[in-house]
Symmetry: C2
Subunit: 220 residues, 2 copies
């Protein structure tokens, strides 16, 4: 990152990302052409595709950064923590560092709005879900290693991650469809969603004492 060339490249990439996000959030994804983005940065369309494999990558770039950050955060948690606790703490504590990274490219507010665009643009949502599935796989491997398990032999790591991701996705949607909450609101929202996890899984759904929790059907 020290040679002039490398700095220049980084600047063009950031500029493209910024221009893309600004256009996407202001006019929508479909109504924005790659040419527009390239022109805004004063670069040829061909160059855009040298930085991003597709139009969608420019749209998912920001989220991508935060996801990668999160996986790293989990990897860094002390190994004596139980799996779900490590995941939970990583997401709750990690928000600040995420803020930093995002802010180095665009104001955080744009990040929020970009998230909404992703959620309401079918092709972007699809790409996002695919990428999330990959991240889940990574997380499962991290968890398995922490617990000294074989990820292909024991289903529990993947299962735990699946449960966790389900909750996170629920929080995401709640937050992206609700009214505009600041970054701090997100932390609270996710924390609250995660707190509901245990009771939801273990409690009986109708009345106590009938033995109808997750246990029943699974053993049937």
């Amino acid at each position: 990152m020290h040679t002039l060339r490398e700095r220049k490249k980084q600047r063009t990439r950031d500029a493209l990302l910024r221009a893309a996000v600004e256009l996407f959030t202001s006019q929508g994804y479909d109504r924005t052409t790659v040419d527009e983005i390239a022109d805004a940065v004063d670069v040829s369309q061909r160059t855009f595709f040298r930085y991003f494999a597709g139009k969608d990558e420019a749209a998912l770039g920001l989220v991508e950064m935060t996801v990668a950050r999160f996986v790293e955060a989990v990897r860094a948690r002390p190994p004596q923590e139980a799996p779900l606790e490590a995941l939970r703490r990583a997401v709750v504590d990690g928000w600040y560092s995420v803020n930093e990274v995002v802010e180095s490219v665009v104001p955080v507010e744009l990040y929020l709005r970009m998230y909404r665009v992703i959620e309401e643009t079918p092709v972007l949502l699809a790409a996002h879900l695919r990428r999330s599935a990959e991240a889940e796989e990574d997380l499962a491997r991290v968890i398995a290693e922490r617990e000294g398990l074989d990820v292909d032999a024991d289903p529990r790591p993947r299962l735990a991650v699946a449960v966790f991701s389900g909750v996170m996705r629920a929080a995401e949607r709640q937050w992206s469809t609700g009214e505009d909450v600041g970054p701090e609101g997100i932390r609270l929202l996710t924390a609250r969603c995660l707190d509901g996890l245990g009771p939801a899984l273990l409690g009986d759904w109708r009345e106590p004492g009938t033995g109808r929790g997750v246990r029943g059907p699974a053993q049937a």
Copy 2:
């Protein structure tokens, strides 16, 4: 479905679907153009797009049918069954009727191979995951209604469905990457995956008695 026109339409659609699946499974999704598919059925390219919103819809058509079938099957389960049991029985019992529907368009073997193509073609996998997410939402509503709950107020329906879907997806992948198993093999595989659900969630991961299951972290 009784007028000549309607029958003709159905036949063209089936023919397009069949041709698409055959081409996709034999030469790959990317290396197959829409023109090829249309030519194989002796129809104009424009007509193809009157039946399918996009090239991907022709690829996901088969799976789409089975997913819809499955959601219906869950809806039809007796309401006294616990949620996860209803889901489980729907998938295990429902396989035969799925077979029927698929076989009316292409041999089941092609269904299996098409599934592999989807799994290894990024854009198709993405679209598939998105559609699956929608199905999950539907299922959550069905479950909520069975239990007399409000999906938006109570997180447990979505959570249960998320867990279940996680297991199903694990089974899907195991089956699509493994060696060629027949339709009966799939039933066994999914059943086995689902049987592991209860112990995996409730058991302790290292040794019994330390109180470190899903319960611990969720309450932290």
